[in-house]
Amino acid sequence: MLNNFVMPDLYPAAPEIFLLLMSFLVLFVDLFFGATHRWMAAMLTGVSLLGAALITLVTSDAQPVLTFSGMFIDDMLADFLKLMTYFAVLMMLVYSRQYLADRGLDKGEFYLLVIYATMGMMIMISAANFITMYLGLELMSLSLYGLVAIDRDSTRSTEAAMKYFVLGALASGLLLYGMSMVYGATGSLELGGIAQALYQGQTEKTVLVFGLVFIVAGVAFKLGLVPFHMWIPDVYHGAPTAITMFIGSAPKLAAFAMALRLLVYGLLGLAADWQKMLLVLAVLSIGLGNLAAIAQTNLKRMLAYSAISHMGYMVLGLMSGMVAGKIDPFTATNAYSSALYYTVAYVLMSLGAFGAILLLSRAGYEAENLEDFKGLNKRSPWFAAMMLIMMFSMAGIPFFIGFFAKFAVLLAAIKAGYVAVAVIAVMFSLIGAFYYLRVVKLMYFDAPVDSAPITAGLDVRVLFSLNGIAVAGLGLFPNEVMMLCTTALLRSV
């Protein structure tokens, strides 16, 4: 057996390998210096992510490269999404540094789990095989379960972690079951092989579609689409805000990659079937997400429902690749790149919105209720303006990035002939505008309840400002990021 072993090409997986090695280093450093020099682990995590970003850039190749016997793919899409992931995780680390320190949560475990979760996302992004995908997903999910419960004395956090774990395990089970069905029908675990088998058409359709349903359910769970959204509000609410910010940002990129890899790269032959399923999921998510968000008084819960609706909008792009039963590469790329653009834009906005909570929180006090934002304009006009940008961007009002994200997905949906769906989507975004407006109303129209000065450190202040400026600036000049998304997809299919 050993004679057949060929050393795989490790080059395409260099960022993952680097991060793995660095995680050992973080582990050791934390073991010996964790008690005295807590900053070292944080610093090292940051350095690891920057290093991984550098390696990703250096090893980037215009052509897709497969390695590990076709289980792992390194293409432009993977590089782009990985860079975005590092970026989001780094931002989360800076945003949450003080928050975690104030609560004694900046332990070595935190950084280690963040690194492993990031690695899991990277593997999901680069997965070219059902097994790799599942491994990446589990690595990410298990690390996230741990992170949610990192404040182990908090009953709310542990309850959230428990819910997340139970439902997440169920979803993994569904996914795995679906994968086994598809494997049974096509005889392949590789996404390329499955696509090939579907293309040749000698497959058992019933079994395939049966499996597809479970795969879509698993993907929908990770994206948080209705009716697989139950975990989102509780987990967002229950987890410490820094962790909520983490869950609300980078994993969306990974979940998008998972959806794209499984459905588009693997099961494009069944697009007629899964597009219809996604359509239902999208409309339900947009509807329920926006309606339920209105009733929330807790900002984290509101943002959770808003996340559900945003993922619904994103799916509008994902489900619009195939027009009238035919897949035209140009249209399909447009549609998928609009979904990718939406995800990237959403991650940026989500980081900013949770960043505002972290900014206003201080030792022993969580500024997570809507009330806490009352009169922010009196306390700090600059931060109020930044939060205003975030809220209007999420509501899809120009000139902010959120508008162009909605613009792109709506265009894709109309192109695919879903004019009615587009009308429903914009009508719900009208309802959605209400709760974003309410936050602006609290900040600007009401008198402050909490008059304590904002104690957040310079790093959080600067990052939050930059985040706001980025949301506005990328709305004034949206072309570059749109082009990046399109290029990444074009070079990958």
Binding site: N377, P381, L388, F392, I397, P398, F399, F403, F404, F407, A408, L410, L411, I414, K415, V419, A422, V423, V426, M427, S429, L430, A433, F434, L437, R438, V440, K441, Y444, F445, P478, N479, M482, M483, T486
Partner: protein
């Protein structure tokens, strides 16, 4: 230089607002003068638009074209014709008035107040000069943000309700327009150019759907009956400056949308729906006129009067003749001056007595003779007295309507009676009679600053009423061109 005039008109106020914001609300003197300087500069850069305008050319002038989002072929495409150019001047002029009006009255967060108006002024200029669908939409919707803040922060007791209602109502309309714009983009094979869309052949059914999508958007903005209910709320609650900008400029955006989008892009649907539109317009003119009659709140009364006057504008557009459309455009500009001035007058009184109720006044002429003279003059203009600007537009539209159908003209002409009735009755109760109460007795006549802006507006109203030629001259070729274009079926 001539090439960037429109960009200057848009970005001078917006970028000029940044130092105003930065100056902060503690340095009030600096803030005011800075804001005034920016507003005046913003007005000065628009003057060459008029002086350099060639009235013989029907097409777009001062065109600027550059790629903005090449990914979707969205362009930074600006240009004005005789229809849109006057509104840019009007807008820049009104902004100066608004800054002057907020000079001492706004005590809280003055920097943000002034800055918000400057930003909005730039955005409105963007709406009037955008020739790219997405650019238009972006300006159209972004202008909601400063107005929302203005109503909500500096408004009256019920401001939160009014601000949210204003925002959601307008957003409802514009979102449907977005869908229509995207549809047109796909139908025109990847162009957001409004001028391209005007040449696009479209079938009847999509034309009607697009017309309806545009209608919802613009009708809310105009506002037309029955989607007008946000306006009285917004006007009553908004601070004086907010009401002025709403009435003078924001309402014109909807009407402008009809001439820029609905008529030329979907002419067949516009003809098909003309009767419907005329009916709605007449209901606005007559029914809302009666509603105005019974108002006890002055701002509400002027708000309803605005709706009624805007009914005239939409009526003028949909009778499809030169007099009608030109009259409607003149009416829009005139209404900009007159309603702005009326709201400023109410603001002047409100600053002294802190009430907008007609019943709380009486005999203002005894304590504020200078003010009363101006107020009565504007009221006359509002009721369409000859020799004021209010008369010119109404008269042209009525003539146009009679050309189309006598009874149409007859019904439209009732506004001359109704308008006079509600305006003059209000004047009688507020300005004349014995001094109503001790508040009125203590009122001080207007200061030099207040006299300045009211007198400037009065000059405009009078000038336009006596000699409207400079206004109609620039419109003529463009309106002619529009009518020719609309007459050709696209089916």
């Amino acid at each position: 230089m001539n090439q960037q005039l429109l960009s200057l008109a848009i970005w001078v106020p917006i970028l000029g607002a940044l130092p105003v914001f930065w100056a902060g609300s503690d340095r009030r003197c600096l803030v005011r003068w800075l804001a005034l300087a920016v507003a005046v500069a913003g007005f000065l850069v628009t003057i060459p638009l008029y002086t350099g305008f060639d009235p013989k050319i029907a097409g777009m002038q001062f065109v600027e074209q550059a790629p903005w989002i090449p990914r979707f072929n969205v362009q930074y495409f600006l240009g004005v014709d005789g229809i849109s150019m006057p509104f840019i001047l009007l807008n820049a002029f009104i902004t100066v008035m608004v800054v002057l009006a907020g000079w001492e009255v706004i005590e809280e967060k003055q920097a943000q107040y002034m800055g918000a108006f400057l930003v909005m002024s730039g955005l409105m200029n963007g709406i009037f000069s955008a020739l790219d669908g997405v650019l238009f939409y972006v300006f159209f919707e972004a202008s909601l943000i400063p107005m929302y803040i203005i109503i909500g922060v500096w408004g009256g007791p019920n401001r939160v309700y009014a601000a949210i209602k204003f925002f959601l109502y307008t957003l409802l309309g514009s979102l449907l327009m977005l869908v229509a714009l995207l549809w047109l983009f796909l139908e025109s094979r990847g162009s957001f150019n409004i001028l391209d869309w005007q040449q696009l052949q479209i079938g009847m059914k999509p034309q009607i759907l697009i017309f309806i999508a545009f209608l919802v958007s613009f009708a809310v903005k105009v506002p037309m009956w029955p989607v007008h209910t946000w306006l009285p709320d917004a006007h009553v609650e908004a601070p004086t400056g907010g009401s002025v900008v709403l009435a003078a400029i924001a309402l014109k955006l909807g009407a402008y949308g009809f001439v820029r989008f609905s008529l030329p892009i979907v002419p067949d649907a516009a003809h098909y729906m003309a009767n419907f539109m005329i009916t709605l317009s007449l209901i606005a003119v007559v029914y809302i006129g009666f509603v105005a009659l019974v108002q006890t709140d002055m701002k509400k009364l002027i708000a309803y009067s605005s709706i009624s006057h805007m009914g005239f504008v939409t009526l003028g557009f949909f009778i499809f003749n030169q007099l009608g459309i030109e009259g409607a455009l003149v009416q829009m500009i005139s209404h900009g001056f007159v309603s702005g001035a009326m709201f400023l007058c109410v603001g002047v009184m409100y600053d002294r007595v802190h009430s907008r109720q007609i019943a709380d006044y009486g005999g203002v002429v005894h304590t504020m003779p200078k003010f009363a003279a101006l107020f009565v003059f504007f009221a006359m203009a509002n009721s369409g007295l000859p020799a004021t600007s209010g008369f010119v537009g109404e008269f042209m539209v009525i003539l146009g309507a009679i050309k189309a159908n006598f009874w149409l003209g007859f019904l439209a002409a009732t506004t001359l009676i109704l308008g006079a009735a509600y305006t003059l009755w209000m004047i009688k109760r507020v300005v004349y009679g014995p001094v109503g109460n001790h508040h009125v007795a203590e009122m001080q006549d207007i200061s030099g600053r207040e006299f300045l802006f009211l007198a400037l507006l009065a000059l405009c109203v009078l000038g336009m009423g006596l000699y409207p030629f400079p206004f109609t001259e620039v419109m003529h070729a463009s309106v002619d061109n529009l009518l020719k274009h609309v007459a050709v079926s696209k089916l």
